[in-house]
């Protein structure tokens, strides 16, 4: 393998021209977000069903007098790896497509991405995106 895959600690972080974009969105906006991302050239993504809370409050449930406050709301987490120059377009695409203007639309987290390897071909980094 071309690179040492264990090279992951932060002091060696080099940020090889790629970004790791994680967005937590309302579940029903997924189709719009996927289309918007396809339009700006994103070729793949990972979607996970998650639960969490931020400023949007949960709800209460009541069963025979037992009242439960449900803090965690269902959300989707989208993860996309992109080249640096694509990042702004991707962020804008998600921001637009996932936005309803109401509390609970979610957040986008952006971080540097150190290394990408396509398992089948062993291509690395931007070639592997």
């Amino acid at each position: 393998m071309a690179r040492n895959m264990l090279c992951c600690n932060k002091t060696n972080y080099e940020g090889r021209d790629m970004k790791w974009i994680t967005a937590v969105i309302k579940p029903f906006t997924l189709d719009d977000v996927r289309e918007a991302l396809a339009e700006v050239g994103v070729q793949g993504m990972t979607v996970t069903e998650v639960k969490g809370f931020g400023r949007q409050h949960g709800h209460t449930e009541l069963y025979r007098g037992a009242e439960y406050v449900v803090d965690f709301l269902p959300k989707l987490k989208i993860e996309v790896a992109v080249a640096d120059e694509q990042a702004d377009h991707v962020i804008e695409a998600i921001s637009t497509a996932a936005r309803t203007g109401k509390v609970g639309d979610g957040k986008i987290f952006v971080s540097g991405l150190e290394q990408v390897i396509r398992i089948r071909t062993q291509e690395v980094d931007t070639d592997a995106l």
Partner: protein, 453 residues
């Protein structure tokens, strides 16, 4: 000629097999009906109905109660609840065949008005169903059908109790408790109420058409004692323990409602006017209780919940059980409304106020609705309140009913406590903490209800 209401029968041949003939015991104007019941031949219409009624009552347990209770527990305990319902069905069937029917319905040594040992417990002359042939009959139905019908009652009663200690009792302890409880608590009470002249509560004049005291108060009180002896579930009431599938609970409650027609209308042990009226008042009381519970909930919590409306319906079914043979449609309406409203408070408030973890509200719904029903059965049997009984004094019959309730409460509470303590000292009632957190499905049965991915 067949008379239209079940009553007492003192014919010598019938005495030996008298059981539910005592449905309208005591004050029911015995002498009037005694001679009318001359029938000793099997009636095909009655038999057909009782065959169906037996199946309906079995359906109340599997799958009715299994789904009703199963939906209310957490996903990790679904199978344990269903397993308990199924296993009790099998266990009680065998015990019933071995000695249960004899201890409950043998009339050996019983004499009207005489209180002796056999006023409290049946003899052993019918052990292993001795003497049962295709030709033996109970009133106008084959005795085999009556044995089966009463068996389904004996099955559902211990099944009701499991809701109180759900999610924490060992399977082995549950089996021991159910078998012992059937023997020590249920069989004597069934005998005392239903075995005819000479039975203790029957001779007192207690009205219990289909089992308000025998089944529901008995089980509900045992449930309360059981949940106190075994202790709270870990984390209750602070950790959320919401029902995992209320859809199951709705299906289960619907099957209970449907099956209850076998329970109540079947308790006429005939396809006659009494059965028809029992069916109608059952429907009315159930609907009224569902509405009563829902209305109070809507007012106090601003929401009408699914669990609320089905719980109310079950409260109504329980409450009308003792009254189904004697109350009128108007009485059923009032009885249902009261039961629904009272049980709303006992199931949603009382439990948290007093701090006992009756997981699925066996006490709050079954015992309380059973007591409300048993008491009101007295006055509502009077023609003055639209009933069809021959109650002379409203207050007098209420007092008789209260004595029956008090006796059953004490009997069930004391003996259940003794049995539970006995099992706790020997087998241990409760699974350990790790097993409880893992869930009884995996810990006790090494299975999982849902393998979805």
């Amino acid at each position: 000629m067949r008379f239209e209401k079940p009553g007492r029968d003192r014919k010598a041949g019938m005495l030996r097999r008298a059981g539910k003939a005592a449905l309208f015991c005591g004050l029911m104007g015995l002498a009037l009906s005694l001679q009318a019941k001359g029938s000793t031949t099997i009636d095909s219409g009655d038999t057909a109905w009782m065959l169906v009624a037996s199946m309906l009552v079995l359906m109340m347990t599997i799958p009715g109660a299994a789904l009703f209770y199963g939906g209310m527990v957490r996903a990790k305990n679904l199978l344990s609840v269903m397993m308990q319902c199924f296993a009790i069905t099998a266990l009680v069937t065998v015990l019933w065949m071995l000695y249960g029917y004899s201890l409950a319905f043998s009339t050996e040594g019983m004499h009207a008005g005489v209180t002796n040992l056999h006023s409290f417990i049946g003899g052993l002359d019918r052990v292993l169903l001795a003497g049962l042939t295709p030709a033996s009959h109970y009133q106008t139905v084959p005795e085999s059908v009556f044995v089966m019908f009463q068996l389904t009652f004996a099955i559902i009663t211990p099944v009701l109790i499991i809701g109180a200690f759900a999610e924490r009792m060992k399977f082995s302890a549950m089996l021991c408790f159910s078998g012992l409880w059937l023997t020590v608590v249920y069989l004597p009470v069934a005998h005392m109420v239903w075995s005819g002249p000479g039975s203790f509560l029957g001779d007192l004049g207690v009205l219990d058409f289909a089992g308000g005291t025998v089944v529901h108060i008995n089980a509900g009180i045992a449930g309360l004692v059981a949940c106190v002896v075994i202790g709270k579930r870990r984390g209750w009431p602070h950790t959320p323990m919401p029902p995992h599938n209320l859809g199951y609970t709705v299906v289960g409650a619907s099957l209970l409602w449907l099956g209850w027609f076998g329970f109540n209308a079947g308790s006429a042990v005939a396809a006659n006017g009494s059965a028809g009226m029992a069916m109608l008042v059952t429907q009315i009381a159930t609907a009224a209780a569902a509405i009563g519970w829902t209305a109070v909930e809507w007012i106090s919590h601003k929401r009408a919940s699914v669990l609320g409306i089905v719980s109310g319906a079950v409260a109504g079914l329980v409450a009308v059980t003792p009254a189904a043979g004697t109350c009128g449609p108007g009485g059923a309406l009032v009885l249902g409304l009261i039961a629904g409203i009272v049980c709303f408070f006992t199931a949603t408030k009382l439990k948290y106020r007093l701090g006992y973890d009756d997981a699925l509200d066996v006490f709050g719904v079954h015992a309380i609705a059973g007591i409300v029903g048993a008491l009101l059965t007295g006055p509502l049997a009077s023609p003055k309140l639209g009933g069809f009984g021959t109650v002379e004094s409203l207050g007098g019959q209420l007092w008789i009913q209260a004595k029956g309730v008090a006796f059953t409460v004490v009997w069930s509470a004391v003996l259940s406590w003794v049995l539970l303590k006995l099992i706790d000292r020997t087998l241990g009632l409760r699974v350990d903490t790790e097993q409880e957190q893992m869930g009884l499905d995996l810990a006790e049965h090494e299975e999982r209800a849902y393998n979805l991915s």
